[in-house]
Symmetry: C3
Subunit: 275 residues, 3 copies
């Protein structure tokens, strides 16, 4: 069921180069905490970010952008409206969009919001293990899954394994539960990657930025599973390389942005860990 | 009236270790400028930040969080509603919350907002000297206190001394007026600390982040006066250590975040300046 | 038509020193992505930033601030209301304000917003070449000008030359179209500067921060054309100096903030490139 490491590395390197050559326009409807980091991560990698969330503009912009992310952090009714409107537009135009269900499981408003967004068929759902398990619970797929307390993961990706596959099959999309181990599945194919670094959890919004990077890869790759795996491979390897430059959260954030710019296909081939 | 430096250092070190061991969940209803810095400062220190401000979620989340901050920067009616709702919930559950009255004194909307928030009984008010003096003025405690012009302090903490004690007694809370000298009082006890560095005023939102750090310490310390003093001690010493690594605002910001991660109880003992 | 390089450098150095001596209070009504960077750039340079955008406060604050910027990124009806209200107040008080028409040309809502803001007579319009060309198009001055796709420039400043002068004459203001070459005109005088560095396009919000820096210089210079040229000269030289310290976007951002603090009149004299 897993794929060969060399093949995944090669594909990730190809998509990275295509991304840098074509600079896809990524529309981000994301939380206030993450906007700076999301925009800078996309720019460092070589994509073109745009933050357009208001109901007056979000759907029109989705028709012009190559790809869209909708993130449910710091959620409010206007952002949800803007997000739904953009997601509908993207879906109707056959364009991929990525859902980052930040904090899902944390209460009725956010759960309902995620259920509404899911109707517009994201190509990828990217969250931590607890968020993926909460989606299964609120969608009635796995009522036993426990709710997390804050916005940080309370489960490992291994615990989320069965649930992630259920969610992928039910919603006909790719599901990525990321953490110490990253699990990617489209319901059939399953991949587990083990790059990244603990310091990534000590800098805010690096999960949100990963979702945007997944979107950027979806804009240049035909297959959402491959694109998601490639994005997570690149991000994890960059995270590992950054930890060789900096060992505290302030300087790590800077080094990580530098590495998104510096990383090459050869780095991915040399370092990718497929479990 | 002042306490012994060794005793304060020891207490600050103990609370810092408890904070890192228990990772309190800190809900932040804070201004847009500061969200990135507040989240990163809490993560660097070892706490778990969450930004949840919408009226749909803020009170529910306050019931799950360990502690709350409400900050009045970039204030708008929806944020005020969300803040009041969370503050009421925190107060009713007997949980401490910290008010950062950014820009109070600057106009009717913000002054009224602060008066409304004060009704929900913060455990700590943390501001600069001008903000603390403005609170006294708008609450009718000290009508002579002058209004500041922008969001930066126009007074020293020594000028705020009598006023801070009045505010603490009237609102039955801890008041911290921070600046070149930091003044902490619960109306009876008074403490003056003199760490920190001028570069802290050259990076935006470090005051807002201090309020969130005070909240994190309130989550692990029983006594709000001690917790506030400990937070300010840790923050000021980290600020001083950072200035030994960097002498310009861009790199200082990075060094400061690193120091919130690196600082140890021994650093506090070696460097704390109690006046 | 161009001015002498030595004269411009000298003036830029004088205004920089005046700015640092007087610390003008700059009110920023700017997009969410840029707030952190705008505030930090102003602080690093030596000005005093304040973000006050709500309709409840924006006009009152404009009456107290030295200068105002209104930026149309992440635009929503409440921000537009707040921006219009502040711009009216600034205009009526005879105080300069700077319009940064982020993303203009990208749709009816944003175009209408920019047209409404233009009625309140900005002293300076600062955008990329595509945005300046879009303003001409939506104002009916140059119907052929093409619309950009995202928020990044699709035109060079040379292409915008004729259009920028038209816009300046029609709106009786200074127009700055910045990019690899920076074009500044008040309809009569024209100046082209060629400092800066490609890495400035790889960090989000550096354009927004430039608009705020232009505003800060307008607060200390009597002539908006000179003030704008001075601001752009300082910013571009700082950008070039930062590129000698860092060659990746993460560390470049840090180095750039440091250089806004470090730059001296002598640096400007030694490095300014007037075309």
């Amino acid at each position: 069921m897993t794929q060969d490491s060399a093949q995944i590395s090669k594909r990730a390197g190809e998509l990275l180069e295509r991304l840098r050559a074509t600079r896809p326009l990524v529309q981000n409807i994301t939380n206030f905490v993450s906007m700076d980091t999301v925009a800078n991560a996309l720019l460092a990698l070589g994509a073109s970010p745009a933050m357009v969330h208001s109901i007056e503009e979000s759907a029109d912009f989705a028709a012009r952008a190559d790809v869209l992310t909708v993130n449910t952090g710091t959620l409010s009714p206007p952002f949800l409206e803007g997000g739904e409107s953009a997601a509908t537009a993207a879906h109707m135009l056959g364009r991929p969009w990525v859902l980052d269900p930040v904090g899902v499981g944390g209460g009725k408003f956010r759960n309902d919001a995620v259920l509404r967004l899911l109707r517009h068929r994201p190509a990828v759902i990217r969250g931590n293990a607890s968020e993926i398990m909460s989606i299964a619970r609120i969608a009635g797929l796995n009522p036993q899954a426990a709710a997390p307390r804050g916005v940080d993961a309370a489960h490992t990706t291994d615990e989320a394994f069965v649930t992630a596959r259920l969610v992928a099959r039910h919603h006909l999309c790719v599901v990525a539960a990321t953490g110490a181990v990253d699990l990617i599945t489209d319901g059939e194919r399953v991949l587990r990657l083990a790059n990244g670094h603990e310091l990534m959890t000590r800098v805010t919004a690096l999960g949100c930025a990963l979702s945007a990077v997944v979107a950027a890869f979806c804009a240049v790759g035909e297959d959402a599973f491959e694109a998601t795996a490639s994005a997570i491979a690149v991000y994890g390897v960059a995270g590992e390389m950054a930890a060789e430059q900096a060992n505290r959260p302030g300087s790590y954030r800077v080094a990580f942005m530098d590495m998104l710019d510096a990383i090459t296909p050869a780095d991915i081939c040399a370092r990718l860990k497929v479990l």
